[in-house]
Point group: C2
Chain length 159, copies 2
């Protein structure tokens, strides 16, 4: 498994790596549960495996793991869209960013977003975009983002 | 080519269909130019062909064409993201929605967005999301969307 980044904080070692199939039995689903309701019983191992197998260099899930506790403490999903505008430009979309409650304010979120932006840049994207709630605007501004529009959503009631 | 939808307006016939390779020589690039700067010389036929060839049921470009003038008067790109949250849910992302200047206020944008939502529903998405500028919020509200957050963006200066 590729370790993209490793750092020490308070005598503990953290690594930034791709999500992998073993993370099903770690706390990845619990971490996502801090973002959105998730029924762990409904996420079968096979579904998770299928999800992992579809990931590729244009659709990644990056996580930060505490190597001393084996606990995943941050995650972010990216996918890269090919566009025609901006001269066949590419855009990096970021989704489902979570930093574990216990690790907020430690700078891990900023490290993760910095890595995401490096990745987007390396992949030739002209911009990185994401949507967030109002109370997270300040965090993303600290990561170099600017508010540039409004997210609109429509829920499909038949599901 | 599949025609999803056909309607008459002021004695002219409009069809809703997938973008296809012949649209390179129609006005699709000019239409996108109403959304964002586009240098037509930079979009080579081969690039356009590669873009079309990568489209699939999870990444579509829908267009509305006036069959009497062969002019494309509206377009929207969709791509469908597999998630783990919402019990392995899917989200439909909508990008690059344009209605030709001459056709605004005719209801074509609403027809296009209605079709996009039908498509998202058929594909099993629990929601459809998009980002827009403030002056377009009212249009999307008329299409059933609600403002649900802020778009943040970071431009990569090395490109």
């Amino acid at each position: 498994m590729t370790i993209y980044y490793s750092l020490d904080l308070n005598n503990e070692t953290f690594v930034l790596r791709d999500l992998c199939v073993d993370d099903y039995s770690k706390n990845y689903l619990d971490l996502l549960g801090q973002l959105s309701k998730i029924d762990k019983e409904q996420v079968k191992f096979q579904d998770f495996l299928d999800f992992i197998n579809e990931l590729n260099e244009r659709n990644k899930v990056f996580i930060i793991e505490n190597k001393d506790t084996d606990k995943i403490i941050a995650c972010a999903t990216v996918f890269i869209e090919n566009k025609i505008i901006h001269n066949m430009g590419k855009v990096c979309h970021v989704e489902d960013v979570v930093v574990d409650n216990s690790m907020r304010g430690t700078g891990m979120g900023k490290i993760l977003m910095g890595f995401v932006n490096e990745y987007a840049n390396k992949m030739g994207c002209y911009k990185t975009i994401l949507d967030c709630a109002q109370h997270n605007v300040v965090f993303y501004e600290k990561c170099g983002f600017k508010n540039n529009g409004f997210q609109m959503s429509l829920y499909h009631s038949s599901l």
